[in-house]
Symmetry: C2
Subunit: 290 residues, 2 copies
């Protein structure tokens, strides 16, 4: 399941073998860039506009000028799927950096952003969707502008690696006990029929699936309360789940080896998973839970 | 003043034209790596052991295994100067990332770190050393492990760019009014004959020149107090200065357009500049201040 051969480089398509970067590149030396991952089902993008909008918002937030307008990028991303005849479940990864220039913290002058995008197959993880996952808790040591989907991902990498070494899928991050989100997904707690999650401040990434979850909750008449929950709240949680573009909506069944809801996926979580499948036009698929 | 032709790639030397990076590289996609910049005077490294030690400390802190031991790296760095017949004032830049692998937050298995180093000329900025520089103040929005010299430099980039746009050399960072350091240098305040600077906690980079400044202060009998000063303290400061490997010891003469010590470099700052020149074996040079 490697990268499809045709990749986007700036506003042109090329073979992946032709895409490489010089050693003085601002992504490579400063993490001076932003990215997006968009889910693909049956060769169609899901939450496409939301992701493209966020890509431009992130670029604005770091004052990065992209070499295209939104509509042009959308056309290029659609063409990327066509060029590769991509019809499967997968993802597109795209990033933009502040270009190639002699190393200096200040922005280079007259240098165009470097942009690339590529497509990969990525089957849905039916086992995780059905059986849920476990998380560890970790202090949130990230910078103060987590709403920017930047390439400065070292704290996320370290947290996720520690989760893996503890046989967990994710690390649930907290600041002084207040839960922000996971290392690469948003986190939610259900109590007395209400969904709680950290407000969309600069402390968390404003997930595209998070926005969809809010919409599903509204449609289902489930209160969606943007209020951070605490590590202590977890002990009496009725349900917990996370969301991201690659993970969808996943039941969290254990936190630091202690079960949530006796380790059983909750009713509201299941409703949101169903709503997700309907919204993504994949509700006709056979999954383990059906 | 470009990059010297011969560069270090892993443990081999190659021409810079042969050094490039694939698009799925953990430096480029996660900033998952560390770096060092070492000052060179007349073709000799300054504070060499300190920098190499810190490179290994940073690698340890992000759990990155380097493809060489300290002594081997030292030999390679010396050879890099010889291969290029480098006899000038300059810098070496070196970085190590967690290698090239399909994108995934967790560490790749069985993948070697990518390492490179290159040399550039960089004359001393005699005008700045003599006349001092100005800074703006900015909130410190960085992550909580600033002692690691990591490639996650986006907040530093944004702060330095803002400084430049305000005709300043640096941004003085603070957390709730408590000064940490500058975007790419350590910061100091002198009051009543004593030097104050943020303690070497995880909130600041432990500068190699900062260590040298402490040593100079001890030799000169000037108290070196590791205690953070505040933005309010600046109003009554006798002197301020910053230090870094590329900047040396620079008088800070204005903070947010307000003069420090009537905009005149202070006596202790000058003593430390002299001590630096002696320590780096460049005290025989004609500089503007002599």
């Amino acid at each position: 399941m490697g990268v499809y051969p045709i990749v986007l480089s700036q506003t042109k398509f090329t073979h992946q073998d032709n895409l490489d970067y010089p050693f003085e590149e601002r992504g490579l030396q400063f993490g001076d860039g932003i990215y997006e991952v968009i889910r693909i089902y049956d060769g169609n993008y899901y939450l496409f506009t939301e992701h493209v909008d966020r890509f431009f918002r992130s670029a604005d937030a770091i004052r990065l000028e992209l070499p295209f307008e939104k509509e042009q990028l959308k056309t290029l991303l659609h063409d990327l799927l066509k060029q590769n005849n991509m019809k499967n479940d997968g993802i597109v990864y795209m990033q933009a950096t502040r270009g190639s220039a002699p190393r200096d913290h200040v922005f280079p002058v007259g240098v165009e952003a470097n942009v690339y995008a590529y497509v990969k197959d990525l089957p849905r993880n039916l086992s995780n969707l059905e059986n849920g996952i476990s998380v560890i808790t970790k202090e949130d040591i990230r910078w103060k502008k987590c709403y920017i989907k930047s390439l400065n991902l070292l704290p996320n990498v370290l947290a996720k690696q520690e989760a893996k070494e503890n046989n967990c899928y994710e690390a649930l991050l907290h600041e002084d006990g207040l839960v922000t989100e996971c290392s690469s997904s948003n986190a939610y707690l259900v109590k007395d029929g209400k969904i709680y999650t950290h407000p969309a401040t600069s402390r968390i990434l404003h997930g595209c699936v998070r926005m969809a979850v809010e919409r599903f909750a509204n449609e289902l008449g489930i209160p969606f309360i943007e209020e951070a929950f605490t590590l202590a709240d977890i002990q009496s949680a009725d349900e917990m789940f996370l969301s991201s573009s690659t993970s969808e909506v996943l039941p969290i069944l254990n936190v630091d080896r202690k079960p949530v809801n006796n380790g059983i996926p909750g009713e509201i979580t299941r409703k949101l998973q169903d709503a997700y499948q309907k919204d993504a036009n994949i509700s006709n698929r056979k999954t383990a839970q059906q």
